[in-house]
Symmetry: C2
């Protein structure tokens, strides 16, 4: 493709994306595709000759679009908000067009220095002290994995430079809430701790980690000769956005010498609003912290913010320093390849830079406050409506509910069928999409509010549809 | 940003990228920025109010561009080819514009199904049998890490589901060439094996792993009661693109029950040309294989192809299956979140789909053959030129050389200074950019050919500049 063809098709695609976003309410939120619907329309073998990109753009409309679930649809209430704001779309275009590499400072100095500056902007926006230094990673899963690797190496006094975890005499222990994200057990297992050395602590009625059970587990492990290593606090659990008691967990972390990692993947964005920050009181004691601007904030996937108190420790765990990557400036600069697992790095900071400048901090705060108010509105409707139960506090923007008709009360199996049917009716109608989920054995319907396009009227429509769905409509 | 503003700025950026690529030879390849040059031009605090994106686009030209090293410049001979073809730029634009999530099949069926199809196209293009299944990962570093985790779990009979690596009685061993990429020791350390259990095997005069020393190391470990676990073969070492003896290594892997991982990150792209495939004879015996279409092939970073023989094993190591991710189709589809470390996934397959259809297999082959011929041409010039030495065979597109004037012969310190000065002259002149590197204690100049824009005339210009630089010009 030469630049003339790029211009022609590029302008077409700008129009295509603008029209897509303008017309997004015309699509069913959840893709109606059945398994194999997309792949069976594609040739089994690659083309030998160039096809011309007009053909590809035609296939986007004809084949791909029916297999897209529209995360930027105003009726998207499933999983988590994953906003891909138009300013960050443009930033990704610039990133791709430049095609530069940010693995070392030298390989594109702007990639490192813009990242340094905007991650410090983000630190300030979140109200974090200068004790934290931020770096961009791809996902919270990876960042949490890095955190547990760093914890492992701190507690083991850098076993990786000797015999590794397999040569340690005393097993290291990891603690987290049983409502934490699946990436936490995954990270613990991949880091080699083993399932036997992971303690998933039960939670209280509000689905927050129980401190008494945490401390009892730590003491039992110590008594049995095991070594407490890491504690993960969920600021926003996955199912209900419950808040673990971070301050008290930080006290325990200090008392027992645990690495404290805070997983605020989705909820962390709320902390750009000062009135929300009491929810993570104690965060300053964290050794590491992850939140995803690619969720509620709006940078477009993937852009995870990973903050650490001790970057030198991170570099010592993740760093490599082969001859072919030496540069004259190594002593003066950050080489971000040493701040995570991958060597290569895209210029992802552009997305955050574009977003913050396009919206301003106040613009971003206003949008978060709109979503908080929408969640409170829905909570009030649910609380006032006969037959509906709310399953968890609404700390931020997640509203967990179920419909309990008098005729089914007490019959969990029937309630499961009934609520799954409600969710299915909503999802298949196409106007909204939400995630049915199981909370401590009870089927619920989880409404996650926060798509950039979601206004009050969309939440109102969802509520009307939910009520109608209870009647089988 | 609304769609009207998106249209206006989007069209501007399409023109901006086209003009950038057309005028790329006007930039010095290596950024002339000094540490802090970029960051000191950016405000220390985030803007409270929206700034309007015109201001940002102005800052791209005024601030960012001076800090970009131009990896798509025809004079880019450093590190590795990292082609970001214009068709893949458009694919990234579509990916960002759609903003869909591919973590599960249900979260956007097209993301999974297009990936399945194009990864199978790639398998066919590489001449791999149907025994391999491909999945996209971000980088080869991550893929190699996954490979060693899978090896660890196979050899330990899933220790992660019990006490983890820390509960294993017998230490597991990893083997690789001492010319392998830095991501291999990094992966081994992060996976918990420990430096003491990583054997970096010396290489022969052509910089390929020595089989005799490999087998001796395995036997010594067995004799000492250690358990051989994984063997990494470099198809293309980092410094010289040397080829490890894969066939014979596969025989040893089978003999000793080792997981065989093939790191063909850069060189793997050459295998779309059947005449190159003898270089990786034995690849069919690999348990896992990584190559980077985001390098020489041209998809734009990041798009790593990870092929495995046993996807069920990968899923068992990487999989999680929490309630909130259950969907009705789980039994019928691939949920690619379970095929790697991150949960979230961009629609990266679009880049490969666009590239292959835009160029056709034959178009991609023609470009690779052009680069191979350019490397052979440079090799011939070097071999014929008095005072120049070639440090390694030219298997593909990497030409490792140094200048040895009669007056300095035998004086390694002086040769180092002399060759570093040559590289520095070239790099600071701005017409070309290459990487000085140390090979077994000897300073060399490494010429990596394969930027999409690099024609014969650019290699000729580099060779003329290298010769002039020996004279201090």
């Amino acid at each position: 493709m030469d630049t003339h063809e790029f211009r022609r098709l590029g302008h077409d695609l700008i129009e295509w994306i603008a029209a897509y976003r303008e017309g997004i309410e015309g699509y069913p939120v959840m893709s109606p595709a059945q398994p194999g619907d997309i792949s069976r329309q594609l040739p089994r073998t690659p083309p030998l000759k160039p096809e011309g990109l007009e053909a590809i753009l035609g296939d986007l409309d004809r084949i791909v679009m029916s297999g897209i679930t529209h995360w930027n649809h105003p009726g998207f209430f499933a999983y988590f908000p994953s906003n891909s704001s138009l300013s960050s779309v443009l930033a990704d275009l610039v990133c791709a067009g430049l095609g530069s590499q940010g693995m070392s400072w030298q390989t594109s100095p702007a990639a490192t220095e813009v990242e340094d500056v905007v991650m410090d902007w983000l630190r300030q926006m979140l109200g974090l002290s200068e004790a934290f230094t931020g770096v961009i990673q791809d996902t919270a899963s990876t960042a949490t994995f890095c955190a547990l690797l760093c914890a492992r190496e701190r507690t083991s006094a850098f076993s990786q430079n000797r015999g590794g975890l397999q040569a340690e005499a005393v097993p290291l222990m990891v603690y987290a809430s049983d409502q934490g994200h699946s990436s936490i057990p995954k990270a613990a297992l991949l880091a080699g701790f083993g399932k036997d050395h992971l303690r998933l602590i039960p939670t209280d009625a509000d689905h927050a980690l129980r401190l008494d059970l945490l401390e009892a587990a730590i003491q039992a492990d110590l008594a049995a000769g095991r070594k407490p290593c890491a504690l993960v606090a969920a600021i926003g659990t996955t199912a209900t956005t419950a808040m673990d008691p971070l301050w008290a967990m930080a006290v325990l972390a200090q008392k027992y010498g645990l690495w404290l990692h805070v997983d605020a993947a989705m909820a962390g964005t709320a902390m750009i609003c000062p009135e929300c920050r009491s929810l993570w009181n104690g965060v300053e004691a964290a050794d590491s912290l992850v939140l995803n601007p690619h969720k509620w904030m709006g940078t477009g996937f993937d852009l995870t913010a990973y903050f650490v108190r001790d970057p030198e420790h991170l570099i010592r765990v993740m760093g490599t320093n082969p001859s072919y990557l030496h540069t004259a400036q190594d002593g003066e600069v950050r080489n971000l390849r040493d701040w995570g697992i991958p060597l290569g790095r895209r210029f992802r900071a552009l997305k955050l830079w574009f977003l913050i400048r396009d919206q301003g901090v106040e613009g971003l705060q206003a949008r978060i406050r709109r979503d908080l108010a929408n969640a409170q509105w829905l909570k009030e409707q649910v609380d006032a409506a006969p037959g509906w139960e709310r399953m968890a506090p609404v700390a931020l923007q997640t509203v967990c509910i179920r419909h309990v008709p008098d005729t089914l009360r007490g019959d969990e199996a029937a309630l499961k069928t009934h609520n799954l049917a409600i969710a299915e009716r909503i999802n298949h109608a196409g106007r909204s999409y939400l995630t049915p989920s199981v909370l401590k054995g009870q089927q619920m319907i989880r409404v996650s509010i926060g798509a950039e396009a979601t206004e009050r009227k969309h939440v109102e429509a969802l509520w009307a549809d939910l009520q109608a769905a209870t009647l089988g409509r």
